[in-house]
Symmetry: C2
Subunit: 215 residues, 2 copies
């Protein structure tokens, strides 16, 4: 089962037509402003979560009547909306994949909080089923091991980002290869590319995120 999560980032960064013509069998969770946008687009969230402190009464009413369930969180909480949603989505639905939209653009502290929160011990066991998607990027996360990744249509570039120290990183069959690299800190190895339909990489310790992107 796949869950789509819409958080509150700027609409300009959404993939094209994100909220148009969605299949009725798609499952959406909305976080705060994201929940409002889902409901305004006629998509009924299976769960809406947020403090809704920047929403109008009309928006809050819309979310209440359209959502299957609404959970009101406390403003000024320690968790970000994304963290709260990830935890609840995992507990409730045990999905195979969580595709997060609206997490990029605008505030960079939010983007970094979204990317980095997956390193929290409680989320490490679910990072392989989380992806962030915007109009220019798809971001997925990997625990140590051997991995095969596939081209995504329209996304020309490929990047490997160490999320902290990473041991023995191997990029076997990408345009720019790497053997037994030990990275001591966060590094974004940008502007790599696929040379065939699939690419393979491995590493021993740490966490890596892979970014498919286009200009």
């Amino acid at each position: 089962m796949k869950i789509n999560l819409l958080v509150g980032g700027p609409i300009e960064n959404y993939p094209e037509r994100l909220l148009e013509k969605r299949g009725q069998d798609e499952l959406w969770v909305g976080a705060d402003k994201g929940a409002v946008r889902l409901c305004e687009a006629g998509i009924k969230p299976i769960l809406s979560i947020g403090d809704f402190d920047s929403s109008t009464n009309r928006e809050r009413y819309l979310v209440d009547v359209m959502s299957k369930e609404v959970m009101t969180s406390v403003p000024e909480k320690d968790d970000t909306d994304t963290e709260l949603c990830l935890r609840l989505i995992e507990q409730r639905f045990h999905p195979d994949l969580i595709s997060i939209y609206g997490a990029t653009g605008g505030r960079i502290d939010h983007l970094l909080a979204n990317l980095f929160c997956l390193l929290r011990p409680e989320f490490l066991n679910m990072i392989s089923k989380v992806e962030f998607i915007d109009k220019n990027n798809v971001i997925r996360f990997y625990n140590p091991g051997e991995h095969e990744i596939k081209q995504i249509e329209g996304m020309r570039y490929l990047a490997f980002v160490s999320m902290g120290p990473v041991d023995d990183l191997n990029l076997y069959d990408e345009k720019y290869r790497l053997r037994h690299a030990n990275l001591s800190r966060v590094i974004s190895l940008a502007s790599n590319e696929f040379v065939s339909e699939t690419a393979h990489f491995s590493f021993k310790n740490g966490n890596v995120c892979v970014i498919w992107s286009k200009d």
Copy 2:
């Protein structure tokens, strides 16, 4: 002396009217597509750097005639444009401040490469004079010590981002305070705020970036 550096990210993320009505005494360096944009806006770069492999002949000619100096870099080099520019700007001009524009928006691998490259040993001694600026964010970097920061007009939010392990982080007088926090990895402590004109923080080991931002 202050140097402005324009790299090649999307124009939509520039601060408003970035390239209009600039003072004639401002010093600009352009990286690749950024150099083209400076010249097209009538700003004469003191240095233009790039492989210009995605520029037209007309664009390349414009850069050649308008720039005080052009350095052609090799495509598919190991350094990113930003790294190359930082190194050259420091060697040539020894500026007090390097304000980088065009480093955000679009590809997230580029954004992360730009932020994280400052952790390379060769750049650590200059991180305190580098800032990234876009329409929603100002990002500055700090080495260990005691620091005072000031409000930036229009930027409501304040974030402290550990760029790796950070020891004994103290946020003394921000809206959300922290005492003697040891952070073991990259974490974005987002959505803090100033409570007066200035705020103070300190930490003992590691590197912290501070993000002033607005929605």
